[in-house]
Symmetry: C2
Subunit: 227 residues, 2 copies
Amino acid sequence: LIELDSIAKRYRTGPIEVLALRDLTLTIDRGELIAIIGPSGSGKTTLLDILGCLSNPTTGRYRLDGADVSALDEEALAAIRNRMIGFVFQTFQLLPRHTALQNVALPLLYAGVGRQERERRAAEALEGVGLADRMAHHPNQLSGGQQQRVAIARALVTGPSLILADEPTGNLDSTSGREIMQLLTSLHRRGTTVILVTHNQEIADQAPRVIALRDGRIVEDRTAATV
Amino acid sequence: LIELDSIAKRYRTGPIEVLALRDLTLTIDRGELIAIIGPSGSGKTTLLDILGCLSNPTTGRYRLDGADVSALDEEALAAIRNRMIGFVFQTFQLLPRHTALQNVALPLLYAGVGRQERERRAAEALEGVGLADRMAHHPNQLSGGQQQRVAIARALVTGPSLILADEPTGNLDSTSGREIMQLLTSLHRRGTTVILVTHNQEIADQAPRVIALRDGRIVEDRTAATV
Ligand SMILES: Nc1ncnc2c1ncn2[C@@H]1O[C@H](COP(=O)(O)OP(=O)(O)OP(=O)(O)O)[C@@H](O)[C@H]1O
Ligand SMILES: Nc1ncnc2c1ncn2[C@@H]1O[C@H](COP(=O)(O)OP(=O)(O)OP(=O)(O)O)[C@@H](O)[C@H]1O
Ligand SMILES: [Mg+2]
Ligand SMILES: [Mg+2]
């Protein structure tokens, strides 16, 4: 499903220049469940953004589902993101002037789904993360962990085939974190490819494959002997 | 140092009404190190905001250092916050158009410290959280954990007597999290009162006193037998 070939990512703005990823090569098959771990600043978010077609590598090649992503224009990329990818952002990125329900329904709006069906599916996604009683709240009327769960619900609502989650349990108590993992692992069992960035060893332990980054490189790529 | 007496907090905006804290009574002595734990949505941030004079209780009384906080106007509260409190926000709340150094220097600017001294102390605070090489970056040029560490440095830069930290390690790998805890516990040993909200049991275990919230109430207030 995913082939990264000698990927590098350099950020350059004025005097600031950072080589966030260096010569990274990686293959991921359809249906895998992978945890990406590594120190703060090691390039995890940068890698996930490239996988999610949100950011272009500086050099190297990214083939997603056989297609060379760098050859695609923004419109084609947006269609791919909407059609097949669900992304949970490390900083949530909810729309402040919209309710939880409206935020979760947004990907369905882009996909052309009618209003009644959108609201039904968004409500169902919010129930799935324990927020049935917070649907009418705006983000600033939600706790940190509730905002994170809205971001998770939004990433799942279109039933994407690839879920990219950047530290989805960072603001959650262990019980809520476990509920989220149950949600993700059940989607995985039904064939969804799930890639999680996490700082939580308990979460990483549940993934059959763990990729460790350090200073923009892959330093370890371990697959559990038996799953 | 801190006396909360029958504190309640109700949020009400249009149709939304939530009783976030209910009849909460609590005493905290100068120099304590306390962890506040509890499920997502249980009222931890709401409690911390009241302790930090950022939010007024709906009913009940808050005495800080002997003074009734509800009797003070916004100017007096701002002076207290600047002079004695360092606050690490769950969502960081960095100024996007300012560098890491400028963000960390801001409390010193409010305190009337001259520019050269501000920059020296801000640089020192950033070195203390491992960000010596990121001082000129803006928040959107930093990783999630780096933004969190800038927020921590900013909370410490004035040498406050009370530190309130809302999930300070949520976006940090275990090594960086441990470094932050070493920083906070060393300040505690030198007399600073430290109150941390955390979802991380390892962090909670390092506090002599742990307060557990559920549905806006204190359900447990445990002090370790020996420290
Ligand atoms: N401005 C607001 N208007 C309405 N309800 C609010 C508002 N802010 C918070 N709430 C609600 O108050 C409750 C407590 O929120 P709080 O942010 O204190 O929780 P928390 O314990 O910090 O949770 P987390 O661990 O997820 O950060 C939540 O149920 C939340 O939905
Ligand atoms: N726009 C940018 N301009 C310059 N440098 C950047 C930019 N975005 C990120 N960086 C740098 O690139 C490096 C990798 O960032 P990234 O966000 O991928 O780290 P991360 O592994 O997700 O860290 P964390 O665990 O703290 O979230 C960091 O050192 C960061 O300072
Ligand atoms: Mg990150
Ligand atoms: Mg909170």
